[in-house]
């Protein structure tokens, strides 16, 4: 729907573009008094151009619809006439009841009615919406969850929902369900939004509340704007300028005409009559003005716009065809969805990237661990050097074959040995991994153990333990059963001390079969290290080193600790906890205090390092793009810690950075203050630096202040979160933010909403005047993809939202490197060359008329044959320049990637700008002078070989036309730097075509049929057999081209650009080129205190201890601990309260009475 709207806009634009420039002429050409050209001269190119544009638009439209249909035609199960029927998504209406199945993509905003899980719970993944990786819980109203999967009852469901109007607030919903004479308030917890994916829930039913563009996701996706490139805008400006220039020429010639008619023509009246009704030299001048506008209109060629489109289309196909951007994993080739933006890919200055799914794979793997001061997970080869883990090595696994998760890969045999030798510390470590978590287990139909985890980090840890012989088997609210190297052991779960973002740790207190009570705790090292028993001193320092090492590799780390508890002590503590749970006042603080109390004097065991797996080649890509002077900002909905962690993992943040500013204030005043401080540090250092080194004068000082941006030395990074960003985007602080952000090497925005992403992009776009690119995979990136100059979607995944909104899509972040550095660079380079040549060509072609005007009484007589004017741009010279525009390469793709600095000319817009345009124009003017005056000098009083005079108008026209075609062909030959077969065919072919058409049109036969249309009969034959004419053509060509060659040679010789150097080097290398060696992967040697990055959500502890999320086969909870929970408030309430940032009026929800 959006697309079709966009489409119509597009058509309008093109027509308009043609409107402004051509329709005008169109009308005048048909008035005989001023029509200096015959009708076909204008109509033929116009029709050709319009046809080609129409064909291209039709193709574009077709493919767009195809991908739209792909989404709209996805099937869903809808309850119609008391039956579940398959229906296309596009036909789903508000009020329908829909059945969703596990791992299905939600395509409308639904009110959850019932689900397969107990109590109408269902789990959703919201990575598409906010980039967070953990699962969220939604639960249905108890009245509706009773409906279950009973189709007949569902069909009879006739509740009425009154709710808010469609809006873009993803975390809020307010409404009321009226059913069976009672009203039930609805909030966000009962709504499943479009863009979510159903997880761990075999089915659920929902009622459609918002569909299509009304969904919160679509409301967030911003407006679809028509995108144009800066070259487009420049081109339009230039076209206007050229029009101005054209009018100026027209005026000069019109004045000339008036004067001439008055001074010269007046005496020449005997021979040169006045036309009827224009016997006045002023009026004649006026008419002449319009005649010249028509004649000179070729200076703005009709074919320019269509040629540009054709070239872009060609470049788009090259992107689609590129095998190096094809991902075989999910069979996804790169796709240029918009075919009008290609050259802008060569001018990107800012990249805004999503994190989850774009930079990361959203897969966590257990990478390394440190147990009791020893690191496991490093692979040493014979030379005792760290080597990259290769696939050849056998992964390590202890467990029985069937229990091994095949995807798990851990390569250190030392750990296996330790396990086999029975090292108690190692065993304890793995035991903690298997016990201290919120994972649920389940056996699937084939008897395989399946873990359902709400946090991918935990999934990685539990799976690691499983593969190393400590298999988490099952749990009940009171017990956890694990298999320890083959023996089944059941632990009694005494207490569950849940995660939260303040505690940054979780603990379980279990009683093992031997009767010992143990507290197992895992959490952020920074927090846990303060709670260690003093006896851990040595191990602490050792483990700290290891943690730093892990963190330096960008791994997410957790410290693992335990504590032996005394029976009596625990009982006392547990009593207090029960009291605390029943308390009504300050309950949370009390509980927190109790947790704090028991989690002390911990014994350190070691640390784990989980890799938030980056997409392949992310680091290389980012390094390479940074070298290309592209700034990369990460905008994510995820937590600050995770975002920073990824920043380090991608090498965007390093320890070498002078300063990492963190803006996390919650009020406008705080944010302003933080920004001010950051700027102070930034500028303060620079000032002192410059003052210290240069004893500068006042004047210099002033200059320094002005160009302060350039003088910022050292690397800085800015990290800002969503709340602060909301304040910082307010008008008065905006500039401070921008100034600061643009001086930082890296910017990370976390916890931002989709709209904020767009706002950040807009900010940079508007105030920096830079070309921006946004890349993302999820629906939460749509707004930013739409607002950036170029939007890139990661394709090949479930959610198509981002891809549909994007201009380019491919399967992996790393292809961005090739898209920008190769395709973008080439596109820009080719487009610029094309434009330069095109403007040059048309100036050279057209201005000859201007010079001729001075010798023909300013009478608007054309120099060339009418047919030549008609065909010059579309037949004689279009293909070679198109071939250059499509195929030219200055340096090879490999070199473009190897040398990212080559990208810079595009960012600085060096290859085509107003200055270049003037040079092209001057070049064209010079050529037109040579083209006119050399034949003029020769023809003045000339006679042919046979004595017959050759200075007639027709010979003159043929000579000039032939010279022109040859000169521009030589020029394109000079401009073409990559001569493929196609270029050869086109260039030589164009020349051949010119001569064959020339001779055909000047032949006797065609004259015999249309004597009035082809009056040039015999001219070509007569003219081109004269040596003298060929001498003129040769001279003209040499005179036109020689200065250009000299100028270019001097430029390349004296001031070679990087491109020139590489071309020369490339040529030298061509014969014996060594296989290009890949740059060694940049290894980080940084050491950093680990941050706490863990995708986890509070509340699951309670869920487990209450047993609410366990299937009916599990015995219902009866323990005292559980009862205490009931006493306070319902666990679901607790869970939901904690899962939302917003405080909603949930307590009023009296209907939830469990």
């Amino acid at each position: 729907m959006f697309c079709s709207k966009k489409k119509s806009l597009e058509v309008e634009r093109i027509v308009k573009a043609n409107d402004r420039e051509y329709n005008e002429k169109f009308q005048y050409t048909l008035i005989p008094e001023i029509s200096s050209l015959t009708w076909f001269t204008t109509i033929v190119p116009l029709v050709l151009v319009i046809t080609m544009t129409a064909v291209k638009d039709a193709t574009d439209d077709y493919f767009r619809h195809k991908s739209d249909n792909q989404v709209n035609n996805r099937q869903s199960e809808v309850l119609i006439d008391s039956k579940l029927q398959n229906e296309k998504w596009m036909n789903v209406k508000v009020g329908d009841i829909i059945k969703l199945e596990n791992n299905q993509f939600v395509a409308a905003d639904l009110l959850l009615l019932s689900s397969s899980e107990p109590y109408g719970l269902c789990y959703i993944e919201t990575a598409e919406l906010d980039g967070e990786t953990n699962l969220k819980v939604r639960h249905a109203l108890s009245v509706t969850s009773e409906l279950g999967a009973d189709i007949s009852r569902l069909a009879r469901f006739d509740g009425i929902v009154v709710c808010e109007a469609p809006n873009n607030k993803l975390d809020k919903f307010a409404g009321v369900l009226s059913w069976k004479d009672s009203k039930h308030p609805l909030n966000n917890e009962k709504i499943i939004l479009r863009g979510c994916v159903l997880r761990n829930t075999s089915w659920c039913f929902g009622m459609v509340i918002f569909a299509g563009p009304d969904t919160k996701l679509m409301q967030n996706s911003g407006k679809t704007k028509f995108k144009r490139t800066s070259i487009d805008r420049l081109m339009n400006t230039l076209v206007l300028w050229i029009f101005g220039f054209l009018v100026c020429l027209g005026i000069v010639l019109a004045i000339g005409n008036s004067v001439w008619e008055n001074q010269v023509g007046d005496q020449f009246r005997t021979f040169l009559f006045w036309n009827e009704g224009e016997k006045n030299f002023v009026f004649s001048g006026f008419l002449t003005f319009w005649s010249y506008i028509i004649i000179l209109n070729t200076v703005v060629p009709i074919s320019l716009y269509v040629s540009v489109e054709v070239i872009r289309l060609g470049h788009s196909y090259f992107i689609n065809w590129d095998r190096k951007m094809y991902c075989s994993g999910n069979a996804t080739p790169a796709e240029a969805r918009t075919t009008t933006l290609n050259e802008e890919l060569g001018q990107i200055e800012y990249i805004f990237s999503d994190k989850t799914g774009t930079l990361t794979q959203n897969i966590m793997t257990f990478k390394r661990c440190s147990i009791n001061g020893r690191i496991y997970g490093e692979v040493h080869d014979d030379l005792d050097q760290e080597t990259e883990i290769t696939k050849k090595k056998e992964p390590v696994a202890v467990s029985v074959k069937s229990e091994v998760d095949r995807t798990f890969q851990f390569f250190d045999h030392h750990l296996m040995e330790s396990i086999k030798l029975g090292d108690p510390k190692v065993h304890e470590f793995l035991r903690i991994l298997a016990l201290c978590h919120t994972v649920m287990s389940e056996e699937n139909s084939s008897g395989q153990l399946i873990y359902q985890v709400q946090s991918p980090d935990e999934g990685a840890l539990v799976t690691a333990a499983r593969n190393l012989g400590f298999i988490f088997k099952s749990r009940t609210p009171q017990t956890i059963t694990i298999e320890e190297l083959g023996t089944i052991v059941t632990y009694q779960l005494l207490a569950f001390l849940d995660f939260n973002n303040i505690r940054k740790r979780m603990s379980v207190i279990v009683r093992n079969p031997e009767g010992q009570i143990k507290l197992y705790c895992k959490g952020a090292d920074t927090i846990l290290f303060e709670k260690l028993h003093p006896s851990n001193g040595d191990l602490l320092s050792l483990t700290s080193d290891h943690l730093s090492e892990f963190a330096g590799e960008g791994l997410r780390t957790l410290a693992i600790t335990y504590r032996d508890l005394d029976d009596k002590y625990f009982r006392e503590w547990h009593k207090m906890l029960e009291d605390a749970n029943t308390a009504t006042d300050k309950r949370d603080e009390w509980i927190a205090g109790l947790y704090e109390e028991i989690e002390k004097d911990l014994m350190l065991l070691g640390a784990t390092a989980v890799e938030d797996k980056l997409q392949e080649g992310v680091i290389e890509t980012i390094t390479s793009l940074s070298l290309a002077n592209i700034k990369i900002w990460v905008l994510t909905g995820d937590k600050q810690e995770t975002a920073i962690n990824i920043g380090y993992a991608c090498n965007m943040l390093t320890d070498d950075m002078n300063e990492v500013f963190v803006i996390a204030g919650n009020t406008a005043v705080e944010v302003r203050e933080e920004l001010r401080k950051a700027k102070e540090i930034l500028f303060g250092q620079n000032r002192s630096f410059s003052n210290g080194h240069v004893g500068c004068e006042k004047k210099q000082q002033l200059e320094l202040d002005l160009v302060v941006e350039e003088t910022v030395t050292g690397d800085y990074a800015l990290i800002i979160n969503g709340h602060s960003l909301a304040h910082a985007l307010e008008s008065d602080v905006k500039n401070d933010l921008l100034e600061l952000a643009c001086m930082c090497k890296t910017v990370v925005c976390c916890r931002v909403t989709p709209l904020q992403k767009a706002q950040v992009v807009e900010l940079v776009k508007k105030h920096r005047n830079a070309v921006t690119l946004a890349i993302g995979d999820g629906a939460n990136d749509v707004s930013m993809i739409k607002s950036a100059h170029i939007g890139v979607g990661i394709s090949g995944q479930e959610g198509l939202q981002a891809v549909l909104a994007s201009d380019y899509s491919f399967a992996q972040f790393r292809y961005l490197q090739r898209l920008l550095l190769v395709h973008g660079r080439w596109s820009y380079f080719r487009m610029c060359k094309f434009l330069c040549y095109f403007f040059y060509k048309n100036f050279a072609f057209t201005l000859v008329h201007f010079w001729f005007g001075f010798f023909c009484g300013f009478s608007a007589q054309t120099v060339y044959d009418q047919w030549f004017i008609t065909l010059f741009n579309i037949v004689y010279t279009s293909l070679p320049v198109l071939a250059m525009g499509i195929f030219d390469q200055d340096v090879s793709d490999q070199n473009s990637i190897d040398c990212p600095q080559l990208y810079e000319p595009g960012q600085l817009n060096l290859l085509f700008n107003k200055h270049k345009f003037f040079i092209c124009m001057l070049h064209g003017i010079y050529t037109s002078l040579a083209l006119f005056f050399i034949p003029y000098g020769t023809f003045y009083n000339a006679a042919g070989e046979d004595g017959q005079h050759i200075a007639d108008y027709q010979s003159f026209a043929v000579t000039m036309a032939t010279s022109l075609v040859i000169v521009v062909s030589v020029q394109i030959a000079l401009d073409t730097s990559y001569w493929t077969v196609i270029n050869h065919v086109f260039i030589w072919g164009s020349l051949a075509t010119y001569f064959s058409i020339l001779f055909t049109m000047h032949s006797n036969g065609i004259f015999g049929i249309f004597p009035n249309q082809f009056p040039f009969v015999g001219s070509a034959r007569h003219c081109l057999t004269q040596k003298c004419i060929w001498l003129v053509i040769l001279l003209t060509t040499v005179a036109s081209v020689m200065p250009v060659v000299a100028f270019r040679f001097l430029k390349v010789d004296l001031y070679p650009t990087l491109t020139d150097q590489i071309r020369r080097w490339q040529k030298a290398q061509k014969k014996s080129r060594p296989p290009s060696s890949r740059r060694p992967r940049a290894r980080r040697s940084s050491s950093r205190r680990s941050g706490y990055a863990f995708a986890h959500q509070e509340g699951y502890g309670e869920l487990i201890t209450s047993g609410k999320n366990m299937r009916a086969k599990n015995p219902p909870p009866t323990s005292g601990l559980e009862k205490t929970l009931y006493n306070s408030t319902s666990w679901i309430e607790n869970l939901c309260k904690k899962t939302t940032d917003t405080v909603n009026s949930f307590s009023q929800d009296k209907t939830v009475n469990l």
Binding site: S328, S859, T938, M1042
Partner: protein, 325 residues
């Protein structure tokens, strides 16, 4: 992401984008064209190619220029066939209103166009309700002075020089482009129903006595109808054929030119000229081309020298810039 660890995450197993995937259909073809790997010639401007080119152009152009210049200057010797031209200056035969004021169909002998000439001929289309043949301003303003050349011999009785009227027009013009209208026995009958151009003394069928040089195919007329490109022009008027190899065509002596003055040029500050010229391998006398060749050749040579010097002097410093790859 759902951590359904067994069924998902195969992606993790190997590099997801390693070559050799299963779905072959969507993988782009590995052709040189699609992968932009077409073999190509990649010329670049180097001292080794540019400098020699400049020298070669210089070395070729200067001799050509000298050749043309010398030939052109030698043309005044009255040997071989001599061509007699009339020249007009300040006459704008290239003015648009003038250029288009003709009807090529009529001139090609089209009988309907003969009686109903094209509108382009206005205001010289009809006269006294009769179509003008040939119509239009070009025909109307045809040069109609008569030039005669006499040799004043020793016996002081002027010998008229034979001036050949035919062979002065392009072959295509004479045989293809211009044709008399079909029909009647005599030329007069064929032009029946038309009237002469306003400025003409005689109708078109009385331009010459030779039937092969009368009407539209009169060569003086054809030459005139081939409009000049520039306001100063000359047109071939007559040929003076060489009689034998022994005598020069126009022996040294005093000549007498008799001009029957019909054509007014004073009104527009025009000038008439009569030119006698021989021609060479490259046409008539043309000093410009020779000089232009010498000039361009010299510039090219000089540029070559200058570039050579610059290249040797400055290149070393700039070219050592390392390429960091």
């Amino acid at each position: 992401m759902a951590m359904n660890y067994n069924s998902k995450d195969e992606v993790d197993g190997g590099p997801p984008c390693a070559p050799g995937g299963t779905a072959k259909s969507r993988r782009p073809d590995n052709t040189a064209f699609k992968q932009q790997r077409l073999p190509a010639w990649q010329p670049i401007l180097t001292a080794g190619t540019v400098l020699p080119t400049f020298f070669i152009i210089g070395l070729i152009f200067i001799p050509i220029g000298i050749g043309i210049f010398v030939t052109s200057n030698n043309i005044r010797e009255i040997e071989g066939n001599v061509f007699m031209y009339y020249g007009l200056s300040n006459f704008y035969q290239n003015h648009r209103r003038y250029v288009k004021s003709r009807d090529d169909s009529q001139l090609n002998g089209d009988s309907s166009a003969l009686l109903n000439p094209s509108k382009e001929c206005e205001p010289y289309r009809r006269n006294e309700d009769k179509p003008i043949a040939p119509c239009g301003a070009i025909a109307n303003s045809m040069f109609n002075d008569t030039l005669e050349l006499f040799l004043i011999g020793n016996d002081s009785s002027p010998t008229p020089i034979t001036l050949k009227k035919k062979g002065i027009a392009w072959w295509t013009d004479k045989n293809v482009k211009f044709r008399n209208p079909p029909g009647g026995e005599t030329l007069e009958e064929r032009f029946k129903g038309t009237t002469k151009p306003v400025n003409w003394l005689n109708p078109v069928y009385m331009l010459d006595s030779d039937p092969d040089n009368n009407g539209f195919i009169n060569e003086d007329f054809i030459v005139w109808m081939r409009t000049a490109a520039l306001p100063t022009f000359r047109k071939l008027y007559r040929l003076i054929e060489r009689k034998s190899d022994l005598h020069p065509t126009l022996p040294a002596g005093r000549y007498y030119l008799n001009i029957t003055y019909n054509y007014p040029v004073h009104s527009f500050d025009g000038r008439k000229r009569m030119i006698l010229s021989t021609i060479s391998w490259m046409g008539g006398k043309n000093p410009f081309l020779g000089i232009a060749y010498i000039a361009i050749g010299s510039i090219s040579f000089l540029l070559g020298v200058v570039l050579l010097v610059i290249n040797h002097k400055y290149r070393n410093s700039s070219n050592t810039a390392d390429i960091t790859i």
